[in-house]
Every structure is written in C-alpha cells, then in structure tokens.
Subunit: 405 residues, 2 copies
C-alpha cells in the first residue's frame, strides 16, 4: 500500500468521457489499496478561452482578476471528477486552493507555492476519501485566488505530493513517457525507464516539453519521485528520480533540440573589462534571457561577441543594443534566426570521458558546421544551421547507442 | 448621493460586449456620485452547460460537487466585469461568496442566506471601490461553496442590498419593468411605475417571471426597494416597494395567467371528517403542491373534491391517489390538463369592493365558464378552459381600466 498523487492534464480531462476514464484509473489505484490524491487541470481549451476573454476586455488586465477568472477552469474539472468518482462508488471530494489551503506568495498570475496544509487531506485519505484538487491555483496573502502560471498544475501536483509525503507523483499526459529524443524525428527513439531530475531539467529546458520546468525543480528539491505516463495507453511510464536511483548510467540519456533560438553577433566591440556587462546588462534589464555566449579572441583591441536568445526576442534585443550602441561602440549587429540548438544530456557524463568529442566527430562526419559550443557538467550543446536539425539528432542518437533494437 | 446595488442577469452579461455595456452603466452611476456594488449572474447558457455536465456524469450527483462546479459561472463574470470596469477607469474588485463571506445554511443546491459580512465591502465602497459580487453563491457551514438555487442571483442582490444598507437594489434584466399583464397577449399592457411587494409576489407566483419569488419575499422582509429595469434600453423601470409608498392605489395592479396547471377531481369520496387530509396528505408527502381546492356540497354521504396542481405533476398525482384509493374509497379520478388560471391582483382590493364581481361579470359577458374560484386578500383567481386564456386576460385588462391610453 502506498500513497500516490495522480495528476491529469487538460487533454486527459478534455470531455466527460475522458473524465470518466480518469475516474476509472483512479478507482483502479484505490482498489489496489493505495491512498490516492488527484490533481486536475482545466478541460483542454478552457483556460485559453478564459485568458482570451481577459485579454480582450483589457490587454493590461489586473492580474488579481485574471486569476479569479482563469482559476475556474480547474474548479470545474475538480468537481466533475469528484462526481465521476462517486458514480463509480469511490468516496471523493473536490478541493480548491483556498479550501486546502494551498498558500502562495502574492505574485498573481505566476505565484509560487509557500506552503500546503496537508493534515486534513491526509486524514481524509486515511479514512478512504480521494481528494480531487484543482491544480494551478492557490490563495495569496491578500486572501485572493492566485494562479501558478501556465502549466502550473504539474507544480501543484509535485508540491502536493511533498506535503502529503506521497511515495510517488504520477503525471498522466498525452505522451507515454520521456524519450531519448523526439520520436517524430527519430523513429528509433526509446522510452526511458528512469531519468534523473537534472537530466529532465536539461531536456525540458531545451525543448522536450513534457513536464513544466518548475515542477521538476521542485521535485528535485523535495525529492519527489515523478512518473510520467499516458492517460490513454496502459503502458508503464518513465520515472524521474534522483540519479542515485539509476543504477546503469549511460553517458548520454537523451538528445534535445530547439529551433526557437536565434543567434546575435555584436561585431567589433572594444575588448576591455566590463564590455560583457555593458552588453548583457541592458538585455537582462529588458527581460531577455541570453543563453550560449562566446567571445572571440580579440585583435586590434576589438572582439566579436556572439550569443543566442529566444527567437521571439530578437527584434527587441536589436532595439535594446542599438540604444546603447553609442556607449559601447560596436561596428554592427549580425542576426541569424536560422539556427538550431542540439544538446546531448546525461548525468553519466560526469564519469564518462569523450562525450563532447563524440558529438563533434559525429557532426563533422555528416558535414555539419558547429557555430557555437557550450557545455555544462551534464550537457553539451551546439548551435548549427536549422536545416541540419533532423540529420544531426538522428546521427547523434545512433552515435551514443540510444537507438532502440 | 446614494448607495445602490446593481444586479445584472445572464442575458445582460451574455458576451464581452454586453459586459462592457454593463461596465458603462455602472460607471454612469459611479460618476453620478453613488456608491455602487454590482452582482452578476453567469453568462447566458453557462450554468445550463455546467448543470448538464453534472447530470450526465451522475443523475444523482453530490450536491456539494454540483455547487462547486456551477458556482464557477458567476465567478468568471465577476472577474471579467471587474476587468471591464477597471478598463473604464473605475476601481473594482471581484468577490466570491467565501471571500465576503456570504454565509448560507448547508442545503447545497438550494441554500438560504444566513448572513452577509458587509463591513469590508462598505469600507471599500466608501473608499471609491466597486465590489463586483458573484451572484447565486455563498459558503456553507462545511466551508464549501453553496448555491442558492436557480435564479438565486436576484436573492443575492437583495440580501446584499440589505447588508450594505443600500437605498435601492436595481435588477437589470431583458425586460424593462413590470407590466399590468403579459404584453405579448395584451398590446395595451402598461408598465407599472410602482408595485407593492405583495402584488409582485402574487404576480410572480402565477406566471409573471421577472424576479425570483424568494428575492421578493426577502425584499419585503428586509424592506429593500427593488427596481426592475432593462440593461439594454435607457427607460425608467418599475419600483417594487412597500404599499405605503404607493399613493394612488388602483383596485387591480395587474392580471396574471398560468397554463402550467391541471385540474384533478376525486369523484364520490365519503363526505366525512379527515377526508381532505387523507387525499392531500399523500400528495404533500410526494412533494406535489396543490393550489385551488373546492369541495362540493355532498349528497348520499358522498362528495366531489376538485383541486389544481402543476401540470407536470399530474401523472405522479394519479399514481399517488390510485395507491391510496382502497383506504379512501372514491369512485374515479377525472383529470383535465386543458385549463388556465387567471388571477387579478392588487393591494387596492382591500379598500375597493366588487373586484371579484367585476371579474365574474366580465367573464360571463364573454361566455367563459368558471370552473374553480379561489380568493385571497389581494387576489382573485379563476380556473377556465385554456382556449379562453387570451380572451379572458384582454377583457379583464379593459374591465379594470388597465389599458394604456
């Protein structure tokens, strides 16, 4: 007997039949003797509709009222799921954020969870009742509904699992696990039985959008074991766990790619101390996240500074830099949006040598030019021409021995 | 400067344009120097959708979960209306039942309001803020969302007006006031400037469905002046007030009709004490509301008992009476669903003689047979053949001098 949190995303509760399906899955765990708490998202499409209404009435709408409006989507699903469970003979009760309470800070629209009062829910679970918690929402210090930001229901579920001392947090979604890479590109992509929190974070932040990044960070911090699995298929999912729980560590766990980035080069800037701060300070102030950065060896007291940033921010970044051009003194800005970032990720890199070298050699063999390189303890990323994305990912997947048999 | 509660029904907030229209109307009152609180219903159609979902998942759904689900409709409108007001430069804040709090009893799905904590709302109104309250909902003793039953937003508004010591409760709806009778039947129907609570109650309960009956009862009890007016036209509405506020009392304020009734006659029952209880007891136990009752003069120790009941309850009533037939001993049941109840209503009847006689004479002149008669202090009702409904209402409207010039 275990205590489990089961979380169902928007596509898993998109209509009444799917809600019935969710109830049947929950009942199966209850019948197996487990104590279960459920977290639900809004029915697919509902949140977008509510957000669009707020936007339409006022582009700069009050975040407190936005929260009051959009949090209703999850409340509907929580109530309906409780009814569906009761119909199957499972004792159930819905919970909104303020009822638990799930306490957050006051950052409306993107609140962070401060604390969850788990005692009453634990008491009820022990008495055989299934709490059905509206995800994505809490209550702020101002006694008003807060929301956690898009995808926040994953974070709700992980935080709840921590507060309830659950053995596992099962995230039901429309994919059946975490893959070594995108199966749409690599037919031989393999589902991972286990993946370390750190690997998941790197894969998520570079484009494998299965779990909200914050939820993985929280799971890592609170040591919550997270399972990603399909709400439609009956196959085992992938466990996101501490790397100590992974016995056979491959050098590379997976390969991620992102075509959402752009490359910007600041040509011929004075090569003097403080020049990086002069460039990246104004960008940070404008809320633009810069990722890979390389600075060329200087000559004639001048150098080139190249970095990547979200493609959508490119026009804004050019504007910011044009604004400080006089102060910095650079020759020109070269932008290239036609790039892709390819990353190989694995905690095993710490103990396996030559991972980066395998990457460079493999890409060279395919004639793919590397524009920028960046590395971390468990990741090697390269920037290449966007047209080579699929070719590169496939070649690397084979080179690291990830192909399914 | 006055303090006003403005309530907007589902058709008045049916889409974003109408919500903007509501905000503009509220702003006008605020600009005129009034302190305003707003009560809103769910957008037209939303509550029906939510109810249908609950029904579909479980015909005998838990009322607590039903309440959690259906209360969201008003929360959405409250938040959106607050945003629309802010966009017009009006300071506004949405309030759900649990936030005020609006405390109800624990009768989920049809809760009654116990108490409203008005102090914080009054403080904010005095500081220039407009509270936008989600109608139809409150919080029960079990710390769970309750709803007041269909049409409950009218009751929310009246109760709020009482708690805030408001000078008036304006109910904005899709009609522009209370009429002497149904304008679809009588082209010369007149809008009433003022109508007494008691008259409104009688007109509402016999078919003039503008205000929820409970809201009028509450307004009468709490002496809240209610104005019914159109949210689309810019015409003055009708005031529902204490009869002392009506200076020129006409004998008859209005004429109502209902085709939702049926007549049932229990033929040849023993004419002995306790026979009425033997018939109406089982009907009451089955939740069937009986209205007009007449008992004929008996002969041979037998009598006939005739009464009206909601047409929809006719099959059930027959079943109930067939079940107790052996115990009571009657010859047969005669049912007639082809009837209409016509009522003339007016507090002026108390001081004007001959109102009933005018009714009987008028109907006789048109050759309309009266099947059953019942009277109260401010109402005379007759049951006639359904086919005569329009003819009777028009003739009476003229006979009582109600026709517009």
């Amino acid at each position: 007997m275990a205590r489990i949190v089961m979380k169902f995303g928007g596509t898993s509760v998109a209509d009444l039949d799917r809600i019935r399906n969710v109830a049947a899955r929950v009942k199966r765990e209850v019948d197996a003797g487990h104590e279960v708490a459920v977290v639900v998202s809004a029915m697919a499409g509902v949140t977008n509709q509510l957000v669009a209404w707020c936007q339409s009435l006022s582009p700069l709408h009050d975040a407190r009222e936005y929260d009051a409006v959009v949090a209703t989507g999850e409340q509907v699903t929580a109530g309906l799921t409780a009814i569906a469970l009761q119909e199957l003979g499972v004792e159930a009760r819905s919970w909104q954020g303020w009822q638990i309470p799930l306490l957050t800070d006051g950052a409306h629209g993107k609140a962070r969870i401060d604390r969850i009062e788990g005692a009453e829910l634990i008491r009820r679970m022990q008495a055989g009742q299934v709490p059905v918690v509206a995800g994505f929402q809490g209550i702020g210090p101002d006694h008003r509904v807060t929301t956690l930001g898009r995808g926040g229901s994953d974070t709700s579920a992980v935080a709840l699992a921590a507060a309830l001392h659950a053995e596992r947090c099962d995230i039901y979604t429309d994919v059946d696990g975490i893959y070594t890479t995108d199966p749409r590109i690599v037919a031989k992509a393999r589902k991972l039985d286990r993946i370390a929190y750190e690997e998941m974070l790197e894969l998520a932040s570079v484009g494998a959008k299965v779990l909200q990044t914050r939820s993985v960070e929280l799971a890592m911090k609170e040591r919550v074991r997270v399972q990603v699995l399909s709400s439609f298929a009956d196959t085992p999912g992938s466990l996101v766990v501490d790397e100590d729980e992974i016995v056979e560590k491959a050098a590379v766990a997976g390969i991620a790619y992102s075509r959402e980035e752009a490359k910007l080069t600041v040509r011929r800037v004075p090569d003097r101390p403080g020049i990086a701060a002069a460039i990246f300070g104004p960008l940070a102030a404008a809320g633009i996240n810069v990722d890979m950065i390389v600075q060329n060896i200087g000559a004639d007291g001048l150098t080139d500074m190249t970095f990547t940033l979200p493609r959508a921010d490119l026009p804004r970044a050019r504007k910011v830099l044009d604004g400080v051009r006089a102060g910095i003194g650079f020759a020109e800005l070269l932008a290239d949006a036609d790039v892709a970032k390819i990353s190989v990720v694995g905690v095993g890199m710490r103990s396996h040598a030559g991972v980066a070298n395998t990457m460079f050699r493999t890409l060279a063999e395919k004639g793919i030019n590397i524009q920028v390189i960046s590395t971390s303890e468990i990741k090697v990323s390269v920037l290449i021409g966007a047209e080579y994305t699929e070719l590169a990912v496939r070649a690397l997947h084979t080179a690291y021995g990830l192909d399914a048999a």
